[in-house]
Symmetry: C2
Subunit: 186 residues, 2 copies
DNA sequence: CCTCTAAAGTATCCATTGGATGCATTCAGA
DNA sequence: TCTGAATGCATCCAATGGATACTTTAGAGG
């Protein structure tokens, strides 16, 4: 349990975390489709085959990166103290990390079911939405729908923007439009 | 220009269209990430390198498949005679072709700008949305926003559903929820 | 303090892939 | 009929994900 300093020679000691970090950097610069295990291994300073001691396969590594992304996204969302702030924080994250966000929203069908950690990370953001958009005067079904709608709007708009389908004038313009859209469901 | 029958021997005569069709089938069964040019070439009955006479590279082929998907999606949308019918037609297409839809909505950033044909195909569906959700008593900016919102809701919900994030009970349940969501923006 | 096992690392192999080069065949227009 | 642009093919290449088998080390139990 105690943090052992990384040995320079053989036992690296910290491969998993560093691999996720390296992979994340590579995703940020070239997109997840271009990510190769060998590049990651080289960045970490380890034989490419060693990664398989920490990740089942390439998909598992990508899932870990996505999970880290969701965890990091949740942080500013937790700090949001209003619905506008939530929208802004969410949008800023996606706009600042477009390729990471694309990875986060492109995990293949069925992935969630087999990755409880990833699922939990996703739910961090949903929890914050519930905190800000839930209302005690509504039934839980109504609340669930309203929150779902907010998340769908956020994700839909940002996915389309990141894909280049939407063309709004500038990031702040998109944020303003999103805030307006989200506002009138309250 | 005249349709020449395919020669069995050398000149195939119809490679591009058949390649798109074969790629589409492979995408439908295994997802676009797993698609290989060689599999497509084999399905068409041609050397894998011949595909490069019709597509710049793998991405170009995927773009062509996505384009075909959008064209096919537009067809039922054109037949829709109400807002509910639009939502249903759109959702049914995405639910019936989840992997194709995933491909259609995952073209990398900037792709649209370089592929006018793809952009046009995407706009076919938007045009139908405008037909059904536009209102003459609103400014064009207001209409643009309302239509954008409808598309965002559709795409967001289906992308999340296909990714397995949303869990709604059954396809018809999702369609009903979507119709409700879209309804109250009118 | 020693031993011995399991975790973590390495080296090497393999089939498959996207792509490049160079040559052959065919069609269409002059 | 001739010729050049399309289209096709065979072959090569480096990179990739993954498999197998061997080596090193940490650290727990005696």
């Amino acid at each position: 349990m105690s943090a052992r300093p990384a040995r320079d020679t053989y036992r690296h000691g910290n491969v998993r975390a560093e691999a996720v970090a390296a992979a994340r950097a590579l995703v940020a610069s070239h997109g997840h489709e271009a990510l190769s295990l060998r590049q990651v291994a080289q960045a970490v300073g380890v034989a490419h085959r060693s990664l398989y001691n920490h990740f089942e396969d390439r998909e598992a590594l990508l899932d870990a990166v996505a999970e880290a992304g969701f965890v990091d996204l949740a942080e500013p969302l937790k700090a949001a103290d209003s619905r506008e702030a939530y929208v802004r924080a969410y949008a800023r994250f996606a706009l600042a990390n477009p390729r990471l966000y694309a990875l986060m929203s492109s995990r293949p069908h069925g992935t969630m079911k087999h990755r409880p950690a990833l699922q939990r990370a996703v739910h961090l953001g949903i929890t914050e939405a519930r905190r800000l958009f839930g209302r005690p005067d509504r039934t839980s079904a109504e609340n669930r729908r309203a929150i779902m709608k907010v998340i769908i709007l956020m994700h839909g708009a940002l996915a389309m923007h990141v894909a280049g389908v939407l063309d709004v004038e500038g990031d702040e313009g998109l944020i303003a439009e999103l805030q307006a859209m989200v506002a009138d469901q309250a």
